[in-house]
């Protein structure tokens, strides 16, 4: 009798340590493969879509409903409606304001050199509902209920409430995974509108509880950037469309190298209470 395969009764059983060994190799192999390629995306996504997504959709609908019910009990419904309407108005105005400010900037600084013809309010967008959020507590990604069937593909930008939420990092037939800009592993190339200086906005778990994201590598020799300045996605970002509002600078400090500055940005999107998002159905053209 071989030591590897024991005969237990009349069926074969594999000792657990060998099984552990096999599965470890399998996992390590999978990590190595997915690190370098994306061969599994299609098959794995469809498996997930058949089993899990329909149930997640259902439960999210029910819990949103129940939460809505309890909210109604807790507060007055009229106030809520009014709040929603006002919030929508604020979103609209924020959107419009960004557009206008950008127009102004464009007019005064660039006149007829070039025109920012594609503002994000003109892009074709599709609404999507958030059906699941990250299983762990480390990163902040979520799953939406639109996928490749609706034309959503990887790297499309996601916005909500007039500001940038993140981008699609994975897409199945009827679901897509969104990585948010507040996630600790995300970085966005951005521009300060007033000074047209570029910076890098990075999500940070330590700042997340304060509702802020960090920025760094801001070159601002003339000290033009001040607290409260608008930060939008930059032209040179290879994933994000230009001119999407990220937030406002809340603190700013000089780095020890005396060349660059870093600090914090308060995002316009309220990531805690986000139920619906908009996916911009246009990819950034990078000329590749």
């Amino acid at each position: 009798m071989s030591p590897v395969i024991k005969r237990g009764g009349d069926k074969f059983t594999l000792p657990s340590k060998y099984l552990l060994f096999i599965l470890t190799i399998l996992c390590t192999g999978l990590i190595a493969i997915t690190f370098n390629t994306s061969v599994f995306n299609g098959s794995v996504n469809s498996v997930a879509a058949t089993f899990v997504i329909p149930m997640q959709k259902g439960i999210t609908t029910v819990s949103t409903y129940i939460k809505g019910l309890s909210d109604n009990l807790a507060s007055i419904k009229a106030l809520q409606d009014e709040n929603a309407a006002l919030r929508q108005k604020v979103d609209e105005l924020t959107n419009e304001n960004t557009g206008l400010e950008q127009d102004k900037y464009e007019l005064t600084k660039l006149r007829e050199l070039y025109s920012l013809d594609n503002q994000y309010s003109d892009y074709k967008k599709i609404g999507a509902r958030i059906i699941a959020k990250d299983a762990g507590n480390w990163y902040h990604s979520f799953v939406i209920d639109k996928g490749t069937d609706n034309g959503v593909v990887v790297d499309m930008n996601v916005i909500a409430g007039g500001g940038l939420v993140g981008r699609i990092t994975d897409a199945g037939p009827d679901w897509a995974k969104v990585q948010t800009i507040i996630a600790d592993n995300s970085s966005v190339s951005a521009t300060v509108l007033s000074a047209s200086e570029n910076l890098i906005a990075t999500g940070d778990l330590e700042l997340y509880n304060e509702g802020q994201i960090a920025f760094s590598k801001l070159v601002d020799e003339a000290d033009k950037v001040t607290v409260g300045d608008k930060v939008v996605t930059s032209n040179i970002s290879d994933k994000y469309l230009p001119g999407i509002l990220i937030g406002y600078i809340s603190t700013i400090e000089e780095d020890s190298n005396n060349l660059t500055k870093s600090g914090r940005i308060t995002p316009v999107v309220d990531f805690e209470y986000m139920d619906e998002v908009l996916v911009i159905m246009q990819l950034k053209k990078t000329g590749e």
């Binding site: 657990s16 099984l19 552990l20 599965l23 470890t24 399998l26 996992c27 390590t28 192999g29 999978l30 990590i31 493969i33 997915t34 690190f35 599994f40 794995v44 996504n45 498996v47 997930a48 089993f51 899990v52 149930m55 997640q56 439960i59 999210t60 819990s63 949103t64 129940i66 939460k67 059906i131 699941a132 959020k133 990250d134 299983a135 762990g136 507590n137 480390w138 990163y139 990604s141 799953v143 995974k177 600790d184 592993n185 778990l205 330590e206 997340y208 509880n209 805690e272």
Partner: protein, 172 residues
């Protein structure tokens, strides 16, 4: 067969609850780690092999939806399931206290591994902050959830074991 179906559905349901319902009743953005409760409980009740397999599938499910690389969480969950499963032979699973301690320990280890692999390797050394704001709250919330979930899993397990013994006797 019955056991397989029950295990399969308990994994799927835990995952779905963790990503949907518990996201609505979170405390300060922290959700309990139901999948870790499941992995530890199965490992403790059924032994290292079951713990390992349940851990593997829980992890793979997290990987598919929220992981950057397929197999990363599967590996962590699987090893935790395997190690907790070693306690199966030493203790009886009826009393709640010991499984609870094991669940808490495994969730703590899970949090710590996540911190080391995902954050410390990226030069984020502020362990105190991550301990206080992520790992400890998650462990506490998980322990609270486990108090309610473990007895259910245990009674289901006993029921299935009875059923299996009865059907085994028929063939003797």
């Amino acid at each position: 067969m019955r056991r397989f179906v029950f295990t399969f559905f308990s994994i799927i349901i835990s995952f779905i609850l963790q990503t949907t319902l518990f996201r609505y009743i979170d405390f300060g953005g922290i959700v309990p780690n139901l999948l870790m409760i499941l992995t530890s409980s199965y490992a403790f009740m059924r032994g290292d092999k079951s713990g390992m397999m349940v851990g593997f599938f829980c992890g793979i499910l997290v990987d598919i939806f929220f992981g950057s690389y397929l197999g990363f969480y599967a590996l962590i969950f699987m090893y935790i399931g395997f190690i907790i499963g070693k306690f199966n032979k030493i203790f009886y699973p009826e009393h709640i206290l010991l499984p609870l301690v094991l669940i808490v320990t495994s969730d703590f280890i899970y949090g710590f591994i996540c911190y080391v692999l995902l954050f410390m390797f990226r030069n984020k050394f502020d362990l105190d902050y991550y301990m206080i704001h992520v790992i400890i709250p998650e462990v506490v919330y998980t322990a609270l959830a486990a108090i309610f979930i473990y007895p259910i899993l245990n009674s289901m397990n006993t029921r299935i074991e009875d059923y299996e013994q009865r059907s085994a006797k028929k063939f003797v």
